[in-house]
């Protein structure tokens, strides 16, 4: 029986533009491309689910096909849905299980961060990880911070009390377990704009769970987050901001469109941070900034492109005085969350990114800037350059810098 609400594949004109812009199809013929795997094959799968084929697994869900489509077909969603409808349920997949539980692994690793980082760096451990978990030896893992951002923030909580204007910060796993600096910088920047921060109980947004096929778990997390965030939002009356482009995409769009959750309680209030800052700046609430005389290259993450949010980040960066900003041609970095950490996709992921790495080397900036945590991991482990978040740069602009 064909569900009539799900016939966006019928709008496909077979123009093949999506396949041109598919980063995976560009580097390997193992993936026949979004047109064939999505709208073309969907017709067959509807008639006979057995016609699903294994090449679907090569889709990294970067969503560039949806960006390119002139006819509004939800190609990536069609592929994601098809992909996970046919995974043998109940089979334990150790690597995918641990990789997608960023919050579970993070909460353990941050307790013993020194040991965890040491152990994960050992060649012997990496060797067994490659053999048993099929995580390539060459992968560079994000290092775990000592303790969680949530714990650190509890000490700051009092300092946030005086601010009448407030936001709820969805920090996400990466800030909580790996990158405290980004969280701290956000507190600085927003405080300088007279805005206080609240955080609330949250679970992983669900992006890695969706990518690894744990849709039920992703839904559970989604329901939890919607409830928790909306409670906090009602209490403080402000927006819900995230410093991760993919978390914000999930909270807003994956929850409603893909997981079919009712996120209307938070939908209008969830914003990726640069969009929030843009609105504040436009309304005249802009902190005094000192020149940041750095040459930086900006890489736009796929999911932020899909959201149409790149123009806000660029606007924010352009407002930082003294910043020499080069905007890189839009290319996928290849990591796609957990995709590039898997042995079977490792080479593909590197080949996808090579175009971007070359661009960066050609520009030779002092820093690369991007909105996405896994893009920054990929760029840092494949080039010589360190990567900053736009909020890091804003925080730098608040410090008094020596005259250049």
């Amino acid at each position: 029986m064909i569900k009539l609400e799900n016939i966006s594949f019928d709008h496909c004109l077979k123009c093949t533009v999506c396949t041109i812009y598919c980063p995976v199809a560009k580097v390997t013929h193992l993936f026949p491309g979004p047109k064939q795997s999505g709208p073309d094959a969907e017709r067959l799968r509807i008639k006979n689910p057995e016609l699903v084929d294994a090449s679907l697994k090569y889709c990294s869900n970067c969503k560039r096909c949806e960006i390119a489509c002139p006819s509004g077909v939800q190609i990536a969603s069609i592929i994601q849905e098809a992909k996970w409808n046919y995974v043998r349920k109940g089979m334990f997949r150790p690597r995918d299980f641990f990789m997608s539980r960023t919050d579970l692994v993070g909460s353990i690793a941050t307790r013993v961060s020194t040991i965890a980082n040491f152990v994960l760096g050992l060649s012997l451990v990496k060797f067994f990880m490659e053999i048993i978990l099929k995580i390539p030896m060459k992968s560079v893992f994000p290092s775990y911070a000592s303790g969680t951002f949530v714990n650190k923030f509890s000490r700051l909580r009092k300092s946030q009390a005086p601010y009448a204007n407030r936001v709820t910060y969805f920090h996400g796993c990466f800030v909580n377990y790996n990158n405290h600096r980004l969280g701290r910088d956000l507190v600085r920047v927003l405080n300088a704009m007279n805005i206080g921060i609240d955080i609330t109980d949250e679970k992983c947004c669900g992006v890695p769970l969706i990518a690894n096929g744990y849709l039920e778990k992703a839904k559970k997390n989604g329901i939890y987050n919607i409830r928790s965030l909306s409670r906090m939002q009602r209490a403080n009356g402000g927006k819900i901001v995230s410093t991760s482009s993919s978390c914000s995409y999930a909270l807003k769009h994956e929850y409603s469109h893909f997981l079919k959750l009712d996120n209307s309680a938070i939908y209008d209030d969830v914003e990726y941070i640069t969009k929030f800052l843009f609105d504040q700046f436009e309304a005249g609430n802009m902190p005094a900034m000192n020149p940041v005389p750095l040459r930086v290259a900006y890489h736009s993450p796929c999911h932020l492109e899909r959201l149409g949010g790149v123009i806000y980040t660029i606007d924010i960066l352009k407002r930082i005085p003294g910043l020499d900003l080069v905007i890189l041609h839009s290319e996928c970095c290849g990591i796609a969350g957990t995709y590039g950490f898997k042995k079977e996709y490792y080479q593909i992921s590197k080949r996808i990114g090579s175009q971007l790495f070359q661009l960066i080397e050609h520009v030779n900036p002092e820093f690369v800037v991007t909105d996405c945590e896994t893009c920054s991991l990929q760029i840092e482990s494949n080039t010589e350059y360190r990567v900053l978040h736009p909020v890091n740069l804003l925080a730098m602009a608040l410090e008094s810098m020596p005259e250049a």
């Binding site: 193992l30 026949p32 006819s71 209008d268 969009k275 790149v310 123009i311 905007i327 839009s330």
Partner: protein, 433 residues
């Protein structure tokens, strides 16, 4: 918002407009919904190809002068042939900066060969489609080999050759068909039958297999001076690859467009977008502008699908959202509308009048001439009929011309995109002074 110019639509018109605005130092953003129609175009740019009686136009600029006197509602009438020429003289060197040259036949049109082997008059072409040497070889009636890759399904060499033989220009010329084989292409597990033009273009882009491909061509081209290949000789640095292939084979390599995606069109798209980015333009492609508010004759803001209530503001706006295919115009049962701002559209509201009975009607279809009405400065009219003075319209959504019957789509896009930019630049300067 700090934008001087916000352009809705990232096709030929929007990008031309954006590049001109940037070159004059305006802060410019393009919001484009998906990829543009250049991906389905021939990659040549027509200015004016056919007269009303379907005769090929020889000198397009002279013809524009004549035609617009009779038809003052044609978009070309708003800038005249001098304005069209100025726009083309601006954009061609901009595209050349990104390693793509566009060749003309002086002031005259030339022909390009279509995928089915017919000839179409056009004004600007890439050098693998028209140049002096190709013209000389045609005039000398040199033999032509029409080659295809064995197994490639998106191009029909036999059909193209049969049609070509029927063209008066090629009467009695030795035209023959053959196929070449793609040399072993390393990282492929794919059947050649599944190759699309883009896959082959990427093989060429590596340059790695050029000598092998050249060897294959020489083997099959016999005494032919001109070798027609389906168009996929690379994208980014195609001119180098084309030149190398000509040197290696000692033949003129002529490109014929195959089924979409069109590599010839993608080269134009790629060059224009690179130029736009190099000049500091901001380009948003994941989101769609779906509305805006006109307050007392001025467009106040626009908003997008993904950001609901958020207002995007700019000093000036350009609407270059394309025609029916790109959803710049929309047909409902008995109504043709401009869906973003509800601007006044010049169209019959009777469905039965939209089309001619025969698909290939000589007189074309009336709906192709429908579109948004504007004044001489390209300002459209809002629902109440008053002009919107900070909004300019450009490209395929304009009314008053038939891009198919006239073969004028590319020229209108460039000329109106450029004209919109000129108007905005003038207004910005006026405001500053």
């Amino acid at each position: 918002m700090a934008y001087d110019c916000l352009i809705i639509g990232g096709g030929l018109a929007g990008l031309t407009c954006g590049i001109k605005c940037l070159s004059e130092g305006l802060r410019t953003v393009i919001i484009s919904s998906g990829m543009n129609a250049l991906h389905f175009s021939s990659g040549s740019i027509d200015v004016f190809g056919y007269t009303r009686s379907k005769e090929p136009v020889n000198r397009p600029f002279d013809y524009i002068d004549m035609y617009t006197k009779e038809r003052p509602d044609h978009p070309y009438a708003k800038m005249g042939s001098a304005g069209v020429r100025e726009a083309i003289d601006f954009i061609v060197p901009q595209i050349a900066r990104e390693n793509l040259s566009l060749v003309t036949n002086g002031d005259e049109n030339h022909f390009h060969v279509t995928g089915i082997g017919t000839l179409k008059p056009t004004y600007l072409s890439q050098p693998s489609v028209y140049n002096e040497r190709i013209r000389a070889a045609w005039e000398n009636r040199e033999p032509i080999a029409v080659l295809n890759f064995e197994g490639y399904r998106d191009y029909y060499a036999e059909m193209a050759a049969e049609q070509l033989k029927k063209q008066p220009l090629f009467q009695g010329v030795d035209i023959f068909v053959d196929s070449i084989r793609l040399p072993y292409y390393a990282p492929t597990e794919k059947n050649l039958l599944e190759f699309r033009s883009i896959d082959l273009a990427r093989v060429f882009d590596t340059e790695k297999y050029l000598p092998r491909i050249a060897g294959e061509i020489v083997k099959k081209a016999g005494n032919a001076r001109i070798v027609c290949l389906p168009a996929f000789i690379g994208i980014r640095d195609y001119e180098t690859i084309h030149r190398k292939l000509e040197e290696m084979t000692g033949r003129l390599i002529y490109e014929v467009p195959s089924l979409p995606p069109s590599i010839l069109g993608m080269r134009l798209d790629n060059a224009l977008k690179s130029r736009f980015a190099a000049l500091g333009g901001e380009f948003s492609i994941g989101d769609t502008v779906n509305g805006g508010e006109i307050v007392s004759g001025l467009l106040d803001h626009v908003h997008t699908c993904n950001y609901g209530a958020t207002r995007h503001r700019s000093k000036y706006y350009v609407l270059a959202s394309g025609s029916f295919f790109s959803d710049g115009l929309r047909s409902e049962f008995n109504k043709i509308t401009e869906p973003i701002l509800g601007l006044t559209v010049n169209a019959s509201q009777k469905r039965s009048e939209w089309y001619s009975e025969h698909f290939f009607d000589e007189a074309s279809h009336p709906f192709l001439g429908y579109g948004v009405e504007t004044n001489a400065r390209l300002n459209p009219f809002d629902a109440s009929g008053s002009p919107v003075e900070n909004l300019f319209c450009a490209g395929a959504l304009l009314c008053g011309y038939d891009p198919i019957r006239e073969a004028s789509g590319g020229g209108v896009a460039i000329a109106t995109g450029y004209k919109a930019a000129r108007e905005i630049i003038g207004l910005c300067r006026g405001a500053r002074a």
